[in-house]
């Protein structure tokens, strides 16, 4: 299910080098975005090995961490993002199932 088409999602994936876990996290978030946010998201990869100072901006304490900056409020998810259900809930992405639940309320 598509999100509000007027909404632009701004995501940041913080990593420390392209480790296997970082690669998994990237593949997982790209798959989720492709399925649910096609055409309305921007995903920026921030490598803290190259730009360590950027960890302070979003107060990144562990990597990989995914940050949803927009839409507000800011949300963070840590790990390899393999638990798709948790990522979808964590990002507050509206799926067919969640829309159905909301409709039944």
């Amino acid at each position: 299910m598509k999100q509000n088409p007027d909404e632009t999602w701004t995501l940041f994936l913080y990593v420390a080098g392209m480790t296997p876990v970082a690669r998994r996290a990237l593949a997982n978030i790209e798959a989720i975005c492709k399925e649910h946010l096609e055409g309305q998201y921007s995903l920026q990869i921030i490598d803290l090995l190259e730009q360590p100072a950027l960890a302070e901006g979003h107060q990144i304490f562990a990597v990989p961490t995914l940050v949803r900056q927009l839409p507000e409020p800011l949300r963070k998810i840590v790990g390899d993002l393999a638990n798709t259900a948790k990522v979808v809930v964590g990002l507050d992405i509206q799926t067919s199932a969640s829309a159905g639940q909301r409709g039944r309320r």
Binding site: V21, L48, A55, Q59, F61, R75, I77, V78, N83
Partner: protein
């Protein structure tokens, strides 16, 4: 406090692994002393910090960036109920020493393989040169034989072949 609660509290507080309870918003609701120690280089107060919700299926290795060398941490997480709300219990094991040992071992193995390769190259060159010398000595001996002179060189390989 019941005996069971006291036991559970001690297990958590004295655990060498960091334990965090993270609520649905990704905010730390509880951190044991080991977890506080893991993040001590970044903050002295984990409680209330917006760390983020763990989203992993299996244990995953994470990196804790900070001043100097990063720490490697293995993380496991499980859904729990904390004060009536759904939350995540994250267990963090510091595997930095293991990672360093693995890196050192990897470097040592690579160094060993490189030395071995150099030794093989040297051995091939040395043996090749030796075989060439034996061949040349044989040729000289043959020429000497043709002109009726005594053989000039003793070729060890031929002697052993003769004695065999």
């Amino acid at each position: 406090m019941s005996t069971t609660e006291d036991f559970a509290r001690k297990v958590v507080e004295y655990s060498v692994d960091g334990l965090l309870v993270i609520n649905g918003e990704g905010v730390v609701c509880y951190a044991n002393p080991a977890a506080n120690a893991l993040f001590a280089h970044r903050t002295n107060q984990l409680l209330g910090f917006h760390l983020g919700s763990p989203a992993i299926h299996e244990p995953v290795e994470m990196i804790l960036p900070g001043v100097g060398r990063s720490r490697h941490v293995e993380m496991r997480s499980v859904e729990i109920t904390w004060e009536g709300q759904q939350a995540t219990l994250a267990s963090l094991r510091d595997i930095t020493a293991r990672k360093w040992a693995e890196e050192a071992m990897h470097k040592y193995n690579a160094d060993l393989a490189e030395r071995n390769e150099a030794l093989i190259r040297f051995n091939r060159a040395a043996v090749g040169r030796e075989l060439q010398m034996i061949e040349l000595k044989r040729e000289v001996n043959e020429l000497c034989q043709r002109v009726g002179e005594a053989q000039r060189y003793r070729v060890a390989a031929d002697e052993s072949a003769v004695s065999a």
